[in-house]
């Protein structure tokens, strides 16, 4: 691994990839530019654009960053993408091709789930999710593990694709889809940022890879100070709980904001029939989790091995940011000298402890 804070020689290599073996099969030597987007808010978790002076069909291509530092050459995979949308352009002398490409998760989006398909209750969620993903995508899938089981039959909606169906399914086991460096499909457990260890520390000292521009947004809109939970089913009738944040020390309380902002939950999920105390505990936990103020930081840095979903520590003293632990939610990687990565990370501050 090179020292990313020191100078190095950087080039990029592109390969056509066999979707079955997931091995490189051919060097693409007429690529002129490429940019990669990794975004956990995007359904397929990312995309890429590739400019080349050769015609490419619907193929998978893989991007490598090649570094030479102190005479040592190393290759780092930036992702594997499936070309879907070619754009051809001719200017009288030569033709240019630009291709939009997507992550392998696009294959799960190709087909709808059969009508009426369901997974019976008491099935292990992650086991069945692995098998269904493996059956509906050609690329390698890494199995996840969890003991969580379905408490009800899990029926596919008529508009569900395999991607939406499986995303909802694994959310029941507190997992989400993710991709590793080679764009193999993995299942990522949902973790609280406070329990994560930073994989990288960004500083603004002399050896910083951080570019000077940084922006910070926070959004108070939608942070409630009242939670109403309404539980009703055909047999138990209706139970209603209202929890209020009226703490004078909380920035989002009714006292501090001068008005009520209500969040209503009408379909809470319980394992079996909940008691009144369980519903109240649920409401308190929900208000605690919603009483978080999210700060969004956008900055640019030279490439380092940080992925979407990782935790980073920001120490940008001159911008007034110190010891802020944030979770990376998106990256835009430009495959050009310096390999700048525009990164967005979020961190939250809890405004109510209940």
């Amino acid at each position: 691994m090179p020292d990313w804070t020191k100078g190095m020689n950087q080039t990029f290599e592109y390969y056509e990839v066999d979707p079955v073996t997931w091995e490189n099969v051919r060097l693409l030597d007429r690529v002129t530019a490429c940019s990669i987007t990794r975004d956990e808010t995007n359904e397929t978790l990312g995309s890429a654009t590739l400019d080349a002076s050769e015609k490419l069909g619907e193929i998978y291509f893989r991007v490598y960053l090649v570094t030479i530092q102190n005479g040592i050459t190393e290759k780092f995979c930036l992702g594997t993408f499936l070309i879907q949308t070619p754009h051809y352009k001719y200017n009288g002398k030569r033709d240019d091709m630009s291709y939009d490409a997507y992550t392998p998760l696009l294959e799960l989006k190709d087909n709808p789930v059969p009508l009426g398909y369901f997974i019976p209750k008491q099935t292990n969620i992650m086991d069945v999710a692995y098998h269904l993903t493996y059956d509906n995508i050609r690329v390698p899938v890494v199995a996840g593990s969890s003991s969580d089981e379905l408490v009800t039959d899990f029926v596919a909606e008529d508009s569900d694709t395999w991607l939406t169906y499986l995303t909802s399914l694994i959310a029941n086991a507190k997992h989400s889809f993710s991709l590793d460096e080679m764009s193999r499909v993995i299942f990522m457990p949902q973790t609280d940022i406070n329990s994560m260890k930073p994989v990288w520390i960004y500083t603004d000292d002399n050896s910083s890879i951080l570019y000077p521009d940084i922006s910070q947004d926070r959004d108070l809109y939608g942070v409630p100070n009242v939670v109403e939970v309404l539980y009703s089913d055909s047999s138990a009738g209706t139970r209603y709980v209202r929890v209020v944040n009226d703490s004078p020390t909380s920035q989002t309380s009714i006292v501090a904001r001068g008005r009520e902002i209500i969040h209503r939950e009408t379909s809470p999920t319980f394992n079996g029939l909940p008691s009144a105390e369980e519903i109240e505990e649920y409401a308190i936990a929900l208000l605690r989790s919603l009483s978080t103020l999210e700060y969004k930081l956008t900055y640019t840095h030279g490439y380092c091995p940080v992925r979407v979903g990782d935790c980073v520590l920001l120490n940008y003293e001159s911008a007034g940011i110190s010891n802020v632990k944030a979770k990376v939610i998106s990256q835009n990687i430009s495959c050009q000298p310096g390999c700048p990565v525009e990164e967005t990370a979020v961190y939250t501050i809890n405004m109510w402890e209940g």
Binding site: G116, D153, F154, E157, S168, T298, E342
Partner: protein
Amino acid sequence: MKLPVNLTKRFSKALTPTKETNSQPKSVFGTVVKHGDDVFVILDGSEIETPVELAVDAEDGDRVAVQIKDHKATVVNNYTAPPSARTATNFMQLTDEGLVIESTRYGSKVQLVLSPANGVLFKSYNVSTQEWSTNMSITPEGVIKRYNDRVWWNDLEEYGLPSPIDPAPGYENVSCWATVLRMDNILQLRLEITRNDSVASGGTIYSGHVSANVCGPEQYTVGVGFYGDRAIVGRIAADGSILVRNTSPTAVTLSDGVILSFTYIMKLNER
């Protein structure tokens, strides 16, 4: 000049129409399949038996509308047998006593009471006394009162009828039967006796009807016996007089001062 990626993202986000998140889930058609208590539906275009919850009543083979929301399938309408709960509830009421199904016709009322604790009761209403009486019951112990049950006199108790009193001495060779003919506010019994000593083969059957108002406060003693060679069926009224309701094989006219004693008697309307 190439625009920064962040700016282009914001621009595209601003121009992209927001998805409608509160759209109602669509209904799809299907056919109900039942396996015992488990209910499934085969959606049109599918061969999979999908488990469903029922928001309306549905039976095997019914054409239904199914709504799938939050990955749960629910039958929301039944086209084969549309819900008609309002008509049914006109006759039904859930009370502390149980589920009461009542019908009123021509001024008389009849109730069927379904109670998990007390079983099934068939009751009728006496308009004049304004009281309900139980005519038939199927209790958890299995005791049943029914119409047209012809039972041994000594077995009547098993049918919820009053305990018979043992036959008078000297009439042990007489067999007696009772048949419940009517069981609303009037209990009507057909009482029969067979005196085995009169005819060698099978005996002679004498029968007659006797009625008692089981809703009123009065008690009745009904019985069956012999007057000479004739059988009489009748009752002893509250004032002690004997009312002969019927005789067999031919009618008999009793003279004043004749003292009757029934071979078999039974007290009705004991409270």
